[in-house]
Each structure stands twice: as structure tokens, then as C-alpha cells.
């Protein structure tokens, strides 16, 4: 309370340590080699083994069955601690990311050089938590499980590529144990497609290529206690209350290029409000030094933390996430290019960032792709210019409808801000508050009656192919209400042709092409208004070392954490 009173009395001078300006840009050299795929992982400086790391969070990890896991923090816990996948992302201490073979010896062999047949060879010495060996057949069985509709909450890229018709419904009830398009031969697993699938190495880094031995498959129950192939195993778990992970003695770091296993134990506790968690971490009281959480520093606390970053030292990390925020222009309704361009020229990006909570919550964004995606191209096609916007409108009276999710006072303030700012170029904005629940269902309906609305997107894997086609291409438009992801409902034949061309290229050649395409779409069609790049600040207790933002999942990298003093609170 005293600290609160003191800070409360201080004047807000508007000064403070700025957020870091250099956003880490994804490297084009993303596909690793056989050498990169060899363990052990590069050690984290000063890391020591031992001790127990505590976690506190609002809710339990709802899905820990690899075929059902698709949320950032669940994937972080699953991929980082509980299971291994064919491929994975090797993130170096201090930054740098490569796609490498995790269970496989390399990120994938394109057998005929046409991206249609991919071969993976498993490493030797890979073991489950009971010491039995991980086989290629188990990987195939894991993929087969993810075809089961009831277990299909995870990513479905690989599954849809293997069988477009999706007639195969999983390995149960006497069905084939190996999914269509997959062949297993000893320690080799081969994927065969009818079309070029050059991004397969990324697709098999999703959780549902984790191995599951048929004998240990408990179907629906597997979600509660997955059979571990990673460095830790579940010792005990009470859903929605707590989960204790202990070392998997059979995991061998020499086979693993990605993971570390510094602490002896992880103790997860659930049910804490995010605001309370932030206050608790900030206080860093005795007993809480070993605590961490995936939740970002709560907005209320953020000004206090960011105005005095020096005080927290290495227990605070900050960085840009892979998510963008943009204002979709409904191209089904706003068909005039000049109007869309004028909206872009007049977009109050500074005030938008200010209202998001400042540069520690959002960085101004002027492209669709975000910097962490390799091939990102920085451009600003429509720098703020009120006069140009007026010129483009040429005195036309434009009336548009801005819809927003009415979840907090802030949302209404943003609406009022837009109304005020767009009035300056003669655009009359009608602001429509909507129920926050089911937001994406409402704007994901091509017949929606709104002209402008917020949306956000993050790449599934580090390539523009999971950004541009679903958000600015035909792929993202569906007649099923709520199923569209191209919220601007923008399609152009020339752009579709370019998408098709890029998708058939080898990954490394295609990557820069997506950034170029991003700029071309904006310059020629202005189908949306880029607004920001999500930015976050995370805090942990003072005894946690190795705090680093995982670039691929945009949250704290759990495998790098260690205890500075393993004996503290032991």
C-alpha cells in the first residue's frame, strides 16, 4: 500500500524509458540443417539445474492432448515440456530462430525436389517417459488420431493436405492405423501429396505430429494426462487447480536441439486473476521469487512498471509479438478505391497506439505481415496526410459504419476518437457497439452490414503463406457464417495468381515474395487499414533466470527458464 501511495502522488511527466525500438525481424535463413537438428540445445548463459519453478495463471491448459492443442500457452507447455514433434523451432538464447528436426534428423527431405514427397528419419535414442522407444509408427498413429473429429481441435493443415475429402476419421473402430498419404518404413516416415506442399516442414512442427503409442492411447482421457515424450512428465494433476511436472529421466538432451530441462520440477497453479498475478509478481514477496506466468503485465500496472524498468532488471522482458491489429474495410460495401485510400491517409495511427496503452502495448504497424515473419517488408504506403485524404474524396460526402466490440470503456473511446478524426476529412462515421461475445462470428460473416471493424491475425508458422492467403485471399472467404478469415472480403484475380505462384515455390524463395505481395496489395487496392503490431511486457519473480520471449509462440519461452538460486524456497 505504501508503494502505491507513493507512486500515486507523483506527477505524470509523460517521460520514461521507451519501449525498445528494434523489433526482431525474422531471418530468411529459417530452415535449419542436419547439424542444427542435433542436440543438445545451446546452453542458456549462467543456467543451473535444480529447484522448483512455480506458475500461476487464470485458467488451466484446457487441451494437453497434442492433437487438440492450438493455443499459444498450451502449445508452449506441450511442445516445450511434454512432447516432441517431427520438427520444432530451435530458438537460440538471446534470439534467432530456426526450424529444425526434433524427432527427425533434419527438417525434411524433399525426395523428388517437387515438394510432393517428403521423407523423415527418426533419431536414435528417443524414449518415452517409461523408457520405451519412440517409433515412426507412433508418429503416424499420432497424426492418425488428429483426423478424429472429436480430437481435431488442433491445426488441420497437414490433415487437409493429406486428404482433401477428409473421409478418414481416425484410427479407431478398426480403421487403418496409418493415415492416408503416410507410409512408415522402419524409422522412416514418408508423406505423399498430390500437390506441391513446400511448407510441409512447418506443418509437421505443429503439436499433432507428436508420437502417441497405440497401447497408451486413452482417447478423450489423453487430454488430461498425455504420455510424455518430452523432458518432463505429469506427476499429478487436478484439472483447473494444479499440475505438477517432474523430470522424465528417459529424455536425453543429446537428442534434443530445442529443449532444456533446468528445474527439477514445475508446479502449475490455476485460478488467479491476471491483475492479482501482476501485483504479486511486482511485489516479489518471500516465497514468490520462483514464480512466473504467461500473462502479460496487466494494463493497470504497466505504466508503473515501464516507467522504472531498471528496477526490475532481467525479470522483465518485452518484445513485439507476431500478431497484428488492423481495421478491416469491408470491400463488399466500400468498393471505391479512393475512399479506401483516403481512410488510410487519414488513419490516426498515433492516437490508436496511444489508446491501446502506448508503445509497450502496441507498435504502429503499416503492413499486414509483422516483422517476426521472415520475408516481412517494411513499407508505409499511406503516411498520415489529411490534405491528400481530402483530395482523394474530392468533396464527396461519405458515411460509413464502424462496428466495435463493446467490452470496455476503451472500446467506446476508440470509436469516439475515430469519429472525431475522420470528421476532419468529411467522413461521417456511424459507430455501432456490438456484443463482444462471438466477435469473429459477426465480422466473419460476408453479409455483415458494417464498413469498418477491428480484426487481428498472427501467423501459424513463420511464413507469409499463413498470413496473406487466409486474410487477403480467396482462401479466407467462406459462405459459412463466421468461418471467413478474410475480414475485408478482398479478392483480386491478379493477387490470387501471385498467391498460387508463391505457394508452388520452394519455401526460401517464396518467403520474400509474401512481403512484396503485402506491399503490392496495399499500394494498389488498400483493402484494409494497418494499425499496430502487438507488443508485450512480461514479468517473473526475481529468482527466475533465462526469461526470454519465444519468437514462434509470442509468449515466454518455458524451456529456457531456470532458477538463479536453486536452493531458494526448496
Amino acid at each position: 500500500m505504501i508503494a502505491l501511495a507513493l507512486s500515486a502522488c507523483s506527477q505524470n511527466t509523460g517521460e520514461g524509458d521507451g519501449a525498445s525500438d528494434d523489433i526482431e525481424v525474422g531471418s530468411l535463413d529459417i530452415i535449419g540443417t542436419e547439424a542444427d537438428s542435433t542436440g543438445p540445445a545451446t546452453p542458456v548463459p549462467n543456467a543451473k539445474p535444480g529447484g522448483t519453478i512455480d506458475y500461476t495463471g487464470l485458467s488451466d491448459f484446457v487441451h494437453l492432448d497434442p492433437s487438440r492443442t492450438y493455443v499459444g500457452s498450451y502449445m508452449m507447455v506441450g511442445n516445450g515440456l511434454l512432447w516432441r514433434t517431427l520438427n520444432g523451432y530451435r530458438e537460440e538464447p538471446g534470439g534467432g530462430l530456426k526450424l529444425v528436426g526434433d524427432l527427425a534428423t533434419n527438417p525434411g527431405l524433399d525426395v523428388n525436389g517437387d515438394c510432393k514427397v517428403w521423407e523423415y528419419t527418426l533419431k536414435t535414442g528417443l524414449k518415452y517417459e517409461d523408457g520405451t522407444e519412440i517409433t515412426a509408427a507412433d508418429v503416424a498413429y499420432g497424426i492418425a488420431r488428429s483426423f478424429t473429429p472429436e480430437l481435431g481441435e488442433g491445426a488441420q493443415f497437414l490433415q487437409n493436405w493429406l486428404q482433401e475429402s477428409r473421409e478418414y476419421k481416425g484410427p479407431y473402430e478398426g480403421a487403418e492405423k496409418v493415415p492416408p498419404g503416410v507410409t512408415v518404413n522402419g524409422n522412416k516416415i514418408t508423406f505423399t501429396f498430390d500437390k506441391a506442399r513446400c511448407e510441409l516442414p512447418f506443418a509437421v512442427a505443429m503439436p499433432n505430429t507428436a508420437p502417441v503409442p497405440e497401447a497408451k492411447d486413452t482417447k478423450g482421457e489423453f487430454d488430461k494426462k498425455p504420455f510424455s515424450s518430452g523432458p518432463y512428465k505429469i506427476e499429478s494433476r487436478t484439472i483447473d487447480e494444479e499440475m505438477v511436472l517432474v523430470r522424465n529421466e528417459h529424455w536425453d538432451e543429446k537428442t534434443d536441439p530445442i529443449r532444456h530441462a533446468y528445474p527439477d520440477k514445475f508446479e502449475f497453479k490455476f485460478g488467479a486473476e491476471p491483475q492479482d498475478t501482476s501485483v504479486r509478481l511486482d511485489a516479489n514477496a518471500g516465497g514468490d521469487e520462483n514464480l512466473f506466468t504467461f500473462a502479460q503485465v496487466y494494463p493497470d500496472l504497466l505504466p508503473q512498471v515501464t516507467s522504472d524498468l531498471g528496477k526490475y532488471g532481467t525479470r522483465v522482458v518485452q518484445g513485439a509479438q507476431k500478431y497484428n491489429g488492423y481495421i478491416a474495410i469491408n470491400n463488399n460495401r466500400v468498393k471505391d478505391l479512393a475512399t479506401r485510400q483516403a481512410l488510410n491517409y487519414a488513419f490516426p495511427r498515433d492516437r490508436w497506439v496511444q489508446l491501446q496503452g502506448g508503445e509497450f502495448a502496441a507498435k504502429p504497424g503499416t503492413a499486414f505481415m509483422t516483422p517476426s515473419v521472415p520475408g516481412f517488408k517494411e513499407f508505409n504506403a499511406y503516411p498520415a496526410d489529411i490534405e491528400k485524404a481530402k483530395e482523394l474524396l474530392a468533396g464527396k460526402s461519405v458515411k460509413l459504419r464502424y462496428a466495435y466490440q463493446n467490452a470496455s470503456e476503451l472500446d467506446g473511446q476508440i470509436a469516439s476518437m475515430f469519429k472525431d478524426e475522420y470528421a476532419k476529412i468529411g467522413v461521417e462515421l456511424e459507430t455501432v457497439p456490438l456484443e463482444p461475445t462471438g466477435w469473429y462470428d459477426q465480422i466473419g460473416d460476408p453479409t455483415n452490414e458494417y464498413d469498418l471493424y477491428w480484426a487481428g491475425w498472427g501467423a501459424d508458422w513463420p511464413s507469409g503463406s499463413t498470413v496473406i492467403p487466409p486474410c487477403l485471399g480467396e482462401d479466407g472467404i467462406s459462405d459459412v457464417p463466421g468461418a471467413s478469415t478474410n475480414y475485408s472480403y478482398f479478392t483480386e484475380p491478379t493477387i490470387e495468381a501471385e498467391i498460387d505462384r508463391l505457394e508452388s515455390l520452394p519455401v526460401t524463395e517464396a518467403l520474400p515474395g509474401w512481403g512484396e505481395l503485402d506491399e503490392k496489395i496495399m499500394k494498389e487496392f488498400a483493402p484494409y487499414i494497418p494499425a499496430d503490431i502487438s507488443y508485450g511486457v512480461w514479468m517473473s519473480g526475481s529468482n527466475i533466470g533465462g526469461l526470454q520471449l519465444g519468437q514462434n509462440l509470442s509468449t515466454l519461452d518455458i524451456t529456457k527458464l531456470f532458477l538463479i538460486d536453486p536452493a531458494l524456497n526448496a
Partner: protein, 335 residues
């Protein structure tokens, strides 16, 4: 004593004794209204609260004028007074032109938010209270006068209404009814939000007045003067409007004065929960909700103090004034 048969006249005797000797000497006949007024004038609480109410009303309803003099209205956004995270600079953004500072977010002037907020709040409360009491009185009087099975049905209906959970229904109904009222997606002008709230409040507030008036009318309709009127050949309309209603104006007035503060609080309550007056129109309840979300910074504390304090002041003064009115009209009630 005037020769009236009105029930309130019975109370006059006690009052007459209280009146000073000087006044007692030049004894003049006075109507119950005049007596009540005399009592009200001698009540210091009534005086103080009345002055406060008048000041608040002048401040609130003169807001457009004050904003001209003051140089800022409730809608003007001042992003230049905020830091990069949209929090006010300095001490809650206070300076010579913004006496109570500015709001985090868009930097609207807090003092003007309060004045316009009071105006919205009090207008909604008073208009609703008038309709509530009128509707309650008509239903109550009708029910009591007609009696029989109709009275039973109305009573039963009142019981049903009283047992409905106000908040749950309000939270569920407001968004739906607003959509119906607008007939499609569109902006919500102030009058739509306001009438929505008034309708919701009305639906859940008329029962008290109805019961009160029903009880009064029940006791009155057996009195001799009514029988006399009946005997003289008066019709039901004449009896209700000319004989009975003039005799229940006191409880109706008391009911009104108690309903206003209750509605001010209820309106703030709805806005606090997000179903009240919507952006960009200022509202006291929404200010409180906004302040509660920012308690880690000074703006939150300060904003909560002044917005919550304003609601408190409004409810308290209206309530105390209502108490005084009740005492003046019915001195036999507990003091």
C-alpha cells in the same frame, strides 16, 4: 378549523399547538397544503438540501452555458494532454482550463463530464419518477376502487412484477430491446439509450406507488364523504378524480420524492454494468466503472472519488429532501 372532511385535517390540531403564540393570536384558517409548507419552511434539513438541489440543478442544466464560459464541453477530445499511454499528464491532467483534470483515453474534461452526467442522470430519474408515480397512482386507484376479482388480478400481477429479478432482466433485455427499437445496426443516439433505461426502470418501479395508492384509496372509499357523494348521485369518475385523488396527493408526492433518488442510483447502477447511456455521452455510473478499472493510477482514485461522490451527493440530498417532504405532509410519522 376549516370545515373540510379531508383526513389530513385531523393532524392539524397538533400542528396548531406548535405554532407560536403570535401566530396563534391572529388565528386564520389554513389549508393542509399551507400547513405542510409552513412545516417544510421550518425544517433546516429541508432548507439545506433544497439549496443543494437547486445549485446542482443550475450547474447541471446550465451546463451548455457554463461550457461556453469555461471553454470546454464534455465532448471535446484533448489527446495532447495525455502521455503516450493515454494517461493524463501532471496531476490527473488538472490545470487552469480543466479544473478537475481530463479523462484517460481521449482527454475529455472531467468537470463537464460530471455536469452533463448529472443532467442526464437527473432528467432520466425525474421523468421516469413522474411516469412511475402517475402510472402507479392510476393502477392503484383503479384497482382499489373497482375491487373484486380485478383487484385480485392486479394485486397478483404486482406480486409477480415484484418478484422478478431486476438486474438479470435489465442486463438481458436492454441490448435486445435496443436492437428492436433501432431496427438494425446503427448508432445509438442519446434519446434511444435514455428511453431504453427509462422503460426498464419504469417496468420495475411502478409497483410501490401502486400499492401505496391502492391502500389509501381502499381506506378512503369507505369514508362518509364518499358515501355522501354516492348518495348525491356522483358517478365513479367523479368520485375517483374529484373526491378520492385530491385526498391521496400527499402520499403520491412522498412516493415521488422517494422514487427520484432511488432512480438516480438505479440509473447509475445500470450504466456501471454497461447497459446505460453509451459513449460518447457522459454518464455518472459509467464514470465510476471507468474509474474502478484504473485503481492502480492516481486518475482512478481521483475519478472514483468525484464521480462516486457526485452520485452519493445526488442520492443523499434527494433522499433527505424527500424525508422532509414526507414529515411535512404527515407529521405523525416517526421523527
Amino acid at each position: 378549523m376549516s370545515g373540510t372532511m379531508e383526513p389530513i385535517a385531523e393532524a392539524d390540531l397538533t400542528v396548531v399547538e406548535e405554532i407560536s403564540e403570535a401566530e396563534a393570536k391572529k388565528f386564520v384558517g389554513r389549508s393542509p397544503g399551507q400547513l405542510a409548507w409552513a412545516r417544510l419552511k421550518r425544517d433546516r434539513t429541508a432548507k439545506a438540501t433544497f439549496i443543494t438541489i437547486v445549485l446542482l440543478m443550475v450547474a447541471a442544466y446550465g451546463a451548455p452555458l457554463w461550457s461556453l464560459i469555461y471553454g470546454s464541453d464534455a465532448y471535446k477530445q484533448n489527446p495532447e494532454l495525455l502521455d503516450s499511454g493515454a494517461k493524463p499528464l501532471g496531476f490527473a491532467g488538472m490545470d487552469g482550463t480543466h479544473w478537475l483534470g481530463v479523462l484517460p483515453g481521449n482527454g475529455e474534461d472531467v468537470l463537464m463530464q460530471l455536469l452533463y452526467g448529472i443532467r442526464t442522470s437527473v432528467s432520466i430519474a425525474i421523468i421516469t419518477a413522474i411516469v412511475v408515480v402517475a402510472l402507479g397512482a392510476i393502477v392503484g386507484a383503479f384497482s382499489a376502487f373497482v375491487g373484486g376479482w380485478l383487484d385480485a388480478v392486479i394485486n397478483w400481477f404486482i406480486d409477480v412484477m415484484l418478484s422478478l429479478p431486476f438486474l438479470i432482466i435489465a442486463l438481458a433485455a436492454v441490448p435486445i430491446v435496443t436492437d428492436l427499437l433501432l431496427g438494425g445496426p446503427g448508432e445509438r443516439p442519446l434519446w434511444v439509450s435514455a428511453s431504453m433505461i427509462m422503460i426498464v426502470l419504469l417496468i420495475f418501479s411502478w409497483m410501490g406507488a401502486a400499492r401505496l395508492v391502492r391502500g389509501q384509496v381502499m381506506s378512503l372509499r369507505e369514508r362518509e364523504f364518499i358515501e355522501a357523494a354516492r348518495a348525491a348521485g356522483a358517478g365513479p369518475a367523479h368520485i375517483v378524480f374529484k373526491q378520492i385523488l385530491p385526498n391521496v396527493w400527499a402520499p403520491i408526492l412522498v412516493s415521488f420524492s422517494m422514487t427520484v433518488p432511488a432512480l438516480v442510483a438505479a440509473e447509475a447502477y445500470l450504466a456501471f454494468l454497461g447497459v446505460g447511456v453509451s459513449q460518447p455521452h457522459p454518464d455518472l455510473g459509467r464514470l465510476v466503472a471507468y474509474a474502478v478499472g484504473q485503481m492502480r493510477i492516481i486518475n482512478g482514485w481521483f475519478l472514483l472519488l468525484i464521480s462516486g461522490g457526485t452520485i452519493f451527493l445526488l442520492v443523499l440530498t434527494f433522499n433527505l429532501f424527500g424525508d422532509s417532504v414526507r414529515d411535512a405532509l404527515n407529521p405523525k410519522s416517526n421523527r
